[in-house]
């Protein structure tokens, strides 16, 4: 039984959910009521002391951090990972870059702009982060020039990592029409057999 503790608004959870889905693992989402303290309960902290979503439970394995879950899924299924050690290292490089520069910053900015009460949104922080994110989108857009996928000639977990926050409609300063290579790449990901939008893979915490 493979369970993923997640909620729809979490792009980090989406990276894991999309990876499981495209690798054709049979998995079940377990909704974490994040915005009402669901990740801070003693029960959840016993599963993940870092207090973060996603968490993968697979048999007797408990794995946290989206990139570690993604890597585990590729090792278990042999899918979404290139064969050569150089390409594997290139995938790792983009996973790390995504955590540091893309999803790390986009996820926080989207949270501040959409899931905090309007009067609590720190406008200086939001503006600062949006500036940093523009440079980040530029790096990805440049890399995708002349490429279909981030590493090699097929979809890998580098792609399912970097797209983690980019299918969401809530505004956070990212407009895919401004970045033509990213735009076409997101279309390619969405055209991959089995692809689903985050809100079709995981229950939302807010509205529906």
């Amino acid at each position: 039984m493979t369970k993923l503790y997640c909620f729809g608004e979490s792009g980090n959870a989406y990276k894991a959910a999309l990876t499981l889905t495209l690798a054709e693992v049979d998995w079940t989402p377990v909704h974490v009521d994040f915005f009402n303290g669901g990740s801070r309960t003693p029960e959840f902290r016993a599963i993940n002391p870092m207090g973060e979503v996603p968490v993968l439970l697979d048999g007797d394995q408990t794995i946290t951090q989206s990139g570690a879950i993604q890597t585990y899924v590729t090792e278990k299924t042999g899918k979404l990972m290139p064969a050569s050690s150089e390409d594997k290292r290139e995938v790792l490089r983009w996973l790390l870059w995504d955590n540091h520069k893309l999803s790390g910053q986009a996820g926080m900015t989207r949270f501040l702009m959409n899931f905090l009460p309007p009067e609590k949104r720190p406008q200086e922080v939001i503006g600062f982060m949006q500036g940093r994110l523009k440079a980040t989108y530029g790096v990805l857009n440049d890399h995708l020039e002349g490429r279909n996928w981030i590493v090699g000639d097929q979809i890998t977990i580098a792609d399912t990592a970097c797209c983690g926050y980019l299918f969401y409609e809530e505004p956070f300063g990212f407009d895919r029409t401004e970045w033509s290579n990213i735009d076409a790449w997101l279309d390619r990901i969405a055209a991959t057999p089995g692809w689903k939008h985050p809100y079709d893979l995981m229950q939302r915490a807010f509205g529906a």
Copy 2:
């Protein structure tokens, strides 16, 4: 010939430099004049289109992202990495966490507080990031309760990653005496044969 493009103030470069040093690789630092545009020159962008330090040149290999360099060094030397696949995944999990939560945020905050002209320092951003970092230090400090090292019973690249910014003296809101487990762990790292402070491994951009 193994070269690391780096500068002393970069904790991300320090992670790579310290890993090379503790793994007893014979390496040479190449100073990048980061604060005067040294990472934005066409020559440097040809080496790393991401425009970031560190970059490792090892024979015909060019590797960027500190975590990818660290992983490469462990594969090449067999050092600073545990043996079991579960422990390896645990190391990866902490590398990703460090990139996302610890060095990613600490590096930026230290930059804003120390390397921007005083009148340009965004105080709201600095305060916000310091709040997030306190939660991050708490996670690491709790994890180190009853442990000598982050994973297993010896120093690994999980340790040389997470300590990346924590030996610097410039203020960024981190006071190691407030976090007793982190404090003792930093002492253990500094007592490891061959250990050096970042400014003793790499040339500084500012002062000396």
